[in-house]
Every structure is written in structure tokens, then in C-alpha cells.
Symmetry: C2
Subunit: 119 residues, 2 copies
């Protein structure tokens, strides 16, 4: 049975967009305190995680993650206020979209021949 679902991407400029993966990475950086640990938590290489952070920093025109060099564990990373705000706004937008579209997605599912799931 098909269950129609939405994907949400926020385009910040012509090149860069923020979607579920990047927001989850930011949340993991916040909880893990480092880009490498956050990447590991998502089965993502350090290099890939770093590239995504770099893309976000550039798309936003300012840093969303700040890194500290050195230290016992090779430095850490924290979200900037802009990074924290970006996560909060994305999640709020996501909840708004889910609430606003639930009924129509369910109707679409029925159109497509699936049973409507209980609300």
C-alpha cells in the first residue's frame, strides 16, 4: 500500500538547500559536540559531514557551526545562534506542514487505492 509522504526542502539561495539530512546533522552536532561524532551517528564520513556543514555555512552567509581546533579529542564543534535558530525554524515549519497537509495526503492515499490510515 502506498502512503504518500512529503519531502520538505528549504532553498536558501540558488545553490543551497536545507533538508532533513542537514538538520539532523546539526542536531547531532549539538548533542555530540563534534562534527565527526555527529557524522558517525548517521553513518556518514567525517569528510561528508564537513562538506555539508561547509555548504550550510556558505548558503547562510554566516556560520551555523563553529569549530574549535585541537584539544584532547581533536577539537569540538558547536552550533552558532544562527544554527540553533535554523534547526528550530525548520522543525517548526515541518510540524506546520505536517499539520496542514495530513488530511489531503490521507485523501490522496485513498484516491490511490490505499486505505486511509487512522488519524
Amino acid at each position: 500500500m502506498r502512503i504518500p509522504s512529503l519531502i520538505l526542502r528549504i532553498y536558501l539561495d540558488a545553490e543551497g538547500h536545507i533538508g532533513h539530512g542537514k538538520i539532523e546533522l546539526l542536531e547531532n552536532i549539538r548533542s555530540c559536540g563534534s562534527i565527526s561524532a555527529a557524522g558517525r551517528a548517521m553513518n556518514m564520513s567525517y569528510r561528508h559531514a564537513w562538506v555539508l556543514v561547509d555548504q550550510m555555512n556558505r548558503s547562510c552567509g554566516r556560520a551555523v557551526v563553529e569549530t574549535q581546533e585541537g584539544g584532547k579529542h581533536g577539537g569540538g564543534a558547536v552550533l552558532t545562534p544562527l544554527g540553533s535558530s535554523l534547526v528550530a525554524r525548520y522543525r517548526k515549519i515541518q510540524r506546520s506542514v505536517e499539520n496542514a497537509t495530513r488530511k489531503e495526503l490521507l485523501a490522496l492515499q485513498v484516491d490511490l487505492g490505499g486505505q486511509g490510515a487512522p488519524p
Copy 2:
């Protein structure tokens, strides 16, 4: 100045999704009465338009477009009731999403250093 915008894609199964381009193609098929004319209206080759229609027919498990062979102009194409319903539901979902997220996208724009646009 960055103006954050949303992209909306509806996933119908693991492979297929419906987004702005496919919906616009369906709307053009409805108004033009053929896949080739609808494609031309979007600067899209007949082949590309046909592939997109085929993907939608398969993702939905039933036809969203029906074609008629032959005739003076090489046959035509019409939306099935499912195709019409898909267009209507997508546009309704799009309006709901726009209404539900306008305020947060504006706030995000201000966070990113842009002026908030007038509502």
C-alpha cells in the same frame, strides 16, 4: 538578498515522486490536449514528457493520463479522473503549505540578514 523558499515533493512510493514540474505537465496536458504540445509549452522534448507521464502512471498504480492513438494531429491525451484529482490535491496541499509556513520563512529570512518582505 536571500529569500528562503520551500520545495514540495510528494513521494508516492519508494521510486516515484510528484513535484512542481510533473504537476505543471499534467496541467498543460489538460489544457493542450496532447503530451507533445504540453511538453513544448515547457520547452521539454516529447520523449522527456512521455517518460514523466509514464513514471506517474506507474507510481500511482493506475493511469493519470490516457492517450488516444492516431487522428489528424497524431492522437491526443487527457487526464483521467485520478490525474485530475492528483493535480487538485497537489495544488491544495501547496496552498496549505504556503499559508502554514509563510510566517516562519519570513522569520528565517530576517535571521539570515535579509529584510522581511511585506506580507
